[in-house]
C-alpha cells in the first residue's frame, strides 16, 4: 500500500514538484525571516556580549536598550564605587561621534571608551597592534568590520573625532550593535577629549561584585542611589530585546512575514495536495472497491503528505541554512541566526501546512463512494 501511495505521488511529476516547491518556499519564508529576525536581536545585544567581566551594568534608570546613550556623572561613579559589596566599578563610554577620514570624507562612528588602567570592557580580540597602545594619548583601535567603512584606514593614520586628532594604533574584533555602526575603541580618558560633555560622559558604570557578596543585594543597594539602576547581563539583554521587539516595530514586521509564509504554505500546499487527491479519487475508489481498508487509505494519504512535507521542509530549511552561512561571511551586512529552536519551529509550520491539505484529502477519500468506479 505504501508503495502504491508513493507511486501515485511520484507518478504525477508536475504536481509533486509543485507541492515540494510550495512547501519548500513556505518553510524558507518562515525559517529565513525568523532567522534574520533572531539575527537582528542577537546583533542588538552585541555590545553586551563584548563585555564579559562585570556582574552589573549601572546605567541611567530610564535606559531602554544597551546602545542607548544616557549620560552618568562622576558623582554617580563615586557613589557606585562606595556602595557596599562592590569590588570595583569602572566607567564605560559609548556614543555616536562624527569622524573625519584622511580623505576628507566624514561619517558617524560608535566610539567605545574603556577605563585606561584596568581596560575593563576591552574588545574581545585585538587582531593587529597592541591593546596597551590605547593608553597613548588620542589612540584608537578600529573594529575589523569597520575597516571598509572607514576607507581602509591603516595603523598610523590620523582620524578626526569631533575635530580632535585620533591616531589608529591597531585593529580589533567586536560585535557591532543593532544598526551595525563602525565601532572604534579608545580609552575613557581619550573620550573626554573627543567628546566635549564635561565630566558627565559616562554611559555605564561596570561593576564587579565582591566575592561572596549577593549580586541581588548589591543591585538593590545601587538602585537606591539617585537616577541610576543596576542591571545584570541577562536583564540588559532582556531590555534590549524587548525594545527592539516592541518599540522598533521590527517584531511586528517580521511576525507578519512569518505569518504570511505560513498562510502561503497552508493555502498553496493545502490546495495542491487536495487537488492531487481529487485527481486520484478514481484510484482511491478502485482501491476501496477492491477492499482497501479505511486505515490503509488513511495511511496512504498521510504517507504522501509526510513525504512531500519532509522534502519541502528539507528544501526550505536547507536554503535558509545556506543563507545563514552566507550571512556569516565577513563584511556581510545580513544578520541571520539559525538555532535548533528555529528548526523545530519551521517543522511545526510545515506540519500545519500539510495537515490542512491532508485533512481535506482524508475527508474526501473516506467519504468516497466506491460505486464511482463504474462511472
Amino acid at each position: 500500500m505504501w508503495r502504491i501511495a508513493l507511486r501515485m505521488l511520484l507518478g504525477d511529476r508536475p504536481k509533486y514538484l509543485a507541492l515540494v516547491c510550495g512547501l519548500g518556499f513556505a518553510v524558507l519564508l518562515i525559517s529565513q525571516q525568523a532567522a534574520i529576525f533572531m539575527g537582528l536581536l542577537i546583533r542588538a545585544t552585541g555590545p553586551l556580549q563584548n563585555v564579559a567581566q562585570p556582574d552589573l551594568w549601572v546605567a541611567n534608570k530610564f535606559v531602554r536598550y544597551v546602545s542607548e546613550t544616557r549620560a552618568l556623572s562622576d558623582e554617580d561613579l563615586s557613589r557606585v564605587r562606595s556602595t557596599p559589596g562592590v569590588l570595583w566599578a569602572e566607567p564605560f563610554f559609548s556614543s555616536r561621534v562624527q569622524c573625519d577620514l584622511p580623505s576628507g570624507n566624514s561619517r558617524y562612528i560608535q566610539l567605545v571608551g574603556i577605563d585606561r588602567t584596568t581596560m575593563v570592557g576591552q574588545p574581545p580580540v585585538v587582531t593587529e597592534g597592541r591593546l596597551e597602545d590605547l593608553r597613548i594619548e588620542g589612540a584608537v583601535l578600529v573594529e575589523e568590520s569597520a575597516r571598509s567603512k572607514l576607507e581602509n584606514v591603516r595603523i598610523g593614520d590620523t582620524l578626526k573625532l569631533n575635530d580632535r586628532r585620533a591616531i589608529v594604533v591597531g585593529y580589533c574584533r567586536a560585535k557591532p550593535g543593532f544598526d551595525s555602526p563602525a565601532v572604534v575603541y579608545t580609552t575613557y580618558a581619550n573620550c573626554l577629549r573627543f567628546v566635549p560633555l564635561g565630566r558627565n560622559a559616562m554611559t555605564y558604570v561596570l561593576v564587579k561584585v565582591r566575592p561572596g557578596a549577593d549580586v541581588r543585594r548589591v543591585q538593590e543597594e545601587i538602585g537606591r542611589l539617585p537616577d541610576v539602576a543596576a542591571f545584570t547581563h541577562a536583564e540588559m539583554t532582556d531590555r534590549t530585546v524587548r525594545f527592539i521587539l516592541i518599540e522598533t516595530g521590527i517584531g511586528i514586521n517580521f511576525g507578519i512575514t512569518v505569518l504570511l509564509g505560513l498562510i502561503v504554505g497552508l493555502a498553496v500546499s493545502g490546495a495542491i495536495f487536495y487537488q492531487f487527491t481529487m485527481e486520484n479519487s478514481r484510484n482511491y475508489a478502485v482501491l476501496k472497491a477492491m477492499g482497501a481498508r479505511r486505515g490503509a487509505l488513511i495511511g496512504m494519504v498521510l504517507l504522501q503528505a509526510v513525504w512531500v512535507g519532509l522534502i519541502g521542509y528539507g528544501v526550505g530549511v536547507g536554503c535558509t541554512a545556506l543563507f545563514t552561512l552566507q550571512s556569516r561571511q565577513p563584511g556581510m551586512e545580513l544578520a541571520a541566526y539559525f538555532p535548533w529552536q528555529l528548526l523545530v519551529g519551521s517543522l511545526v509550520g510545515m506540519i500545519l501546512c500539510i495537515s490542512v491539505g491532508s485533512l481535506l484529502s482524508l475527508r474526501r477519500v473516506l467519504r468516497l463512494e466506491p460505486a464511482v468506479v463504474f462511472k
Partner: protein, 274 residues
C-alpha cells in the same frame, strides 16, 4: 456441494433511487434475482435502465435503499462499511468499461493490488500477479505501465487483476465497450474461461457481465434483460451459444426468480484453476 453453496446471488425486492424531489431517479424498482455459481450471466438492457446500479448493489459497492442483496450467503445489508470492504476483497473481482488501472503502477503491480490490499506480502503477490498475467497472455508485458499498453491489453491486465485473488463473483460492466470487435472477443474469451474457474477451496464461480454488445451474447449461459429499473419477467431474447456450449439451461429459460443451476461443464481447454 450443497444447494445453498451453489446459490451465488440472491436479490429480493431491491430498490435504489438517486436524488430527491424533482431530480429523483428510481434506478432500481424492485429487483428479484437468483443466480447460480458456475455460470456466465449477461445483463442487457437500454442505457439508463439501471444495469450498473444493479451490479453495484450486487458487488457491495452501493447500498440498496430497500430489499435484500446476498452474495454467496453474505447479506450486504447487515454489514458495516469495514466488514463490507473486507468481504468484497475476498468475494468480488471487478472488470470495468474504462479499465481503471492505476496509471503510475506497472502491469504486475496493478494485478497485485487486490492481494496487497488483503495483506499478502509483496513477493508472493508479485509471483501470483505474474502468473495471472501469463494466463491472460501478457507475461512479457509485466513491467509495462498502463499507458504503454493497448486498450485490449489493459483490459486483459484488468481481468488478471480481477481474478488474481480467485474471487467467487466476477462483475464486469461493459468490458468490451471500449474495444474493437476482435479484442473484445479475446477479452470475452478470458471472461468466459473465468466462469468455469473456481476459488481456492474449489468452489464454483459466478460471472456477471453487463453488456450492450450483441456480438458477445453467445458467450452467455443465461441472459437477463432489464428495463426501467426492473428485470423483465421473460427474457426477450435468448441467444443460443455455439455448438460446444449449446446445451440449454432449463432454469435460464425459466427467467428471473428461479435458481439457474446448470451442471458444471467439462473443463476442456479451459483452465479451471484460474
Amino acid at each position: 456441494m450443497s444447494g445453498a453453496a451453489e446459490h451465488a446471488v440472491r436479490l429480493r425486492g431491491v430498490r435504489k433511487r438517486f436524488g430527491r424531489g424533482n431530480t429523483e431517479v428510481r434506478a432500481l424498482r424492485g429487483v428479484d434475482l437468483d443466480l447460480a455459481a458456475g455460470q456466465l450471466v449477461m445483463l442487457v438492457g437500454p442505457s439508463g435502465c439501471g444495469k450498473t446500479t444493479l451490479v453495484s448493489v450486487i458487488s457491495g459497492v452501493l447500498d440498496a435503499d430497500e430489499g435484500v442483496a446476498e452474495v454467496f450467503g453474505v447479506d450486504w445489508g447487515t454489514l458495516s462499511a469495514e466488514q463490507k470492504t473486507a468481504r468484497r476483497a475476498e468475494l468480488v473481482g471487478f472488470v470495468f468499461q474504462q479499465f481503471n488501472l492505476l496509471a503510475p503502477l506497472r502491469a504486475w503491480e496493478n494485478v497485485a493490488v487486490p492481494l496487497v490490499v488483503r495483506g499478502t506480502p509483496l513477493p508472493r503477490a508479485k509471483q501470483a500477479a505474474v502468473e495471472a498475467l501469463r494466463r491472460v497472455g501478457l507475461a512479457d508485458r509485466a513491467e509495462a505501465l498502463p499507458a504503454q499498453l493497448s486498450g485490449g491489453m489493459q483490459q486483459r491486465v484488468a481481468i488478471a487483476r480481477a481474478l488474481v485473488g480467485r474471487p467467487r463473483l466476477l462483475v464486469c460492466d461493459e468490458p468490451t465497450a471500449n474495444l474493437d470487435a476482435r479484442t473484445g472477443q479475446t477479452v470475452m474469451d478470458l471472461i468466459k474461461e473465468a466462469a468455469s474457474g473456481r476459488d481456492e477451496q474449489g468452489r464454483r464461480r459466478c460471472v456477471i457481465v453487463v453488456t450492450h454488445d450483441n456480438r458477445t451474447f453467445h458467450y452467455a449461459d443465461r441472459i437477463e434483460e432489464m428495463e426501467d429499473g426492473v428485470l423483465k419477467q421473460t427474457p426477450a431474447e435468448f441467444i443460443l451459444r455455439e455448438a460446444t456450449h449449446a446445451e440449454p439451461h432449463a432454469a435460464s429459460a425459466g427467467g428471473a426468480g428461479g435458481v439457474a443451476g446448470g451442471p458444471p461443464r467439462p473443463g476442456g481447454a479451459i483452465d479451471a484453476d484460474f
